[in-house]
Amino acid sequence: MLRFIVRRLALLVPILLGLSVLLFAWVRALPGGPAYALLGERATPEAVAAIESQLGLDRPLWEQYLQFLGRAVRLDFGASLQTGQPVIEEMLRRFPATIELALAALLIAVCVGIPLGYLAARRYGTWIDSLAVTGSLLGVTIPIFFLAYILKYVFAVELGWLPTAGRSDPRARADHPTGFYVLDGIITGNLDASWDAIQHLILPALALSSIPLAVIVRITRASVLNVVNEDYVRTAEAKGLLPGTITWRHVLKNAMLPVTTVIGLQLGVLLAGAVLTETVFAFAGVGKFMADGIVQRDFPTIQGFILVIAVVYVVINMIVDLVYGLLDPRVRVS
């Protein structure tokens, strides 16, 4: 197992190095060059000259790259053009919000998607199946922010059931030791604050969950359809096992293998989708900060965000692989 982990970690290195080269090239290719990208378009020539010598833009390219790499490893992406604060600090402050949102969306996607996909497969060819398939096709074709609009308009504006924006009621007082608002409420014994945070989470999480939900429904359905035709399920039936045992031990245990992989991959999609969803709901996470950064051409923020998300994404994938190895004895050994 340990060797497996080490090998997977080793595979990360070339990917991350390659990514850093791409990002380095990207910064170099930005309009006006890296100095303008760092300082903004209204930078004075003196400031540009200063930062260029500070960045060592007069030195050879490989040296500049090494310097860039050194800063990236220390998570130093410079100051955000929006706030003037270091990008990494701005992001760390907002990360809990985004993680909370992404996890809530994933929870919805998993809890609804797996049973729905299973049901569709067992009722293959019936109207339940058609509904699940059509719904999941719709889920991947509907722009997240359009869905967010609809949800916001119907449930927040028209019906008034849920708040329209933000992470919490601005009038309420609550302490936030961790930044995860739902958790904070529980820790500080302020369950009202938790409930308030959950209410603020529901609509953005629903909007964000559309793609993972659709994908999980489809993969679960396809996977269950594959597995129920396997010989070992027939064996299980020939043994006279109870339907529950067959479903859990023989069908789902196998059918969940590809689903696990996909769930992990969806986390990356969720983090990217947060850029759109958080903006619609004015949800103060990294996604919103990134979206604002794009509009204001805040390149240090964009650069930092992409690198951090890529690292998170790659690490999640590695964890998924490890989990897969735990679930599938065939991978574990080889």
Binding site: R234, T235, A238, K239, G240, T245, R249, H250, P329, R330
Partner: protein, 337 residues
Amino acid sequence: MSLLEVRDLSVTFTRSGQQPVRAVDGVTFDVAAGQSVGIVGESGSGKSVTSLAVMGLLPARGAHLGGTVTLDGNELTSMDQRALRDVRGRDVAMIFQDPMTSLNPVVTVGRQLTEVLTRHAGLRRGEAKAEAEQLLRRVGIPDPVRRLGEYPHQLSGGMRQRVMIAIAIACRPKLLIADEPTTALDVTIQAQILDLLRNLVAESGCGMIMITHDLGVVAGLCDTVHVMYSGRIVESAGTKELFGRPSHPYTDGLLQSIPRIDADPADLLHTIPGSARDTVPWDRGCAFQPRCERAVDECLAGPPPVAELGTPIVPHPVRCVRPVGEDVIVHEGNVAR
């Protein structure tokens, strides 16, 4: 009364927008306790469908069942799924062709064995585990304790089939159905598995149905053989009788196409011309007629009659107008001699 009585079994598959297909038609045979019965035929002859019908494992949708299957006095064809689940694995057990795909890849060998025991024999986990160890030993798996914790892919093909057999015999079933149990195995392993099956039947006194396309498998193992072609039994006889006096041209062709070690290498191997797809519906004539070297006009004059070439005590019925070795044309009138 026999252990298993199959009477006029028929299976029809229906698919929306397509002609219904009759996969098994009017199949009747018995299995007595302690007896091994072979069902021989090519793929598509309906032999596997017959075994699945006996197990009650045909899909609920699309498969239409006729006739009766009676095991030890209980009619299985009229049972509901709940009752059938109690019978399967306890009274009838099945061994499938490919042990690689028939065992669940993500569940340990031990769990796949003990789950039958806890389900049917009412054993608790610990008891079932001890019993499972005994079972693995009985089917000739060394170091059973270690094997119980392993997964199917860690076992060799022969081992896996032994595990399948252990699962099948776990609850001491009255009837064992083996569907091509050696086809997916190496030749050297095949004989071992067949030996094991023969011994298990002899020890336990259960009945066995051996489904195979290989007459060689039947020769050393079965007491009685039924040859199926295109969904019907075309010839039934004791094994010795069948090998000594194959009477249906199809059986004859099968026997002649087995390579013989003492044959002249210059001789061509006998083959049956055509394929199983060249067929005639049974109600219009003999399904084997298009491939038959002995075909005459009478073969297509309606469903072929059954000629009884044996005696009431040692029957040898053949569904043929012109059986091998007989010069007469069989009519409805002169069937029995």
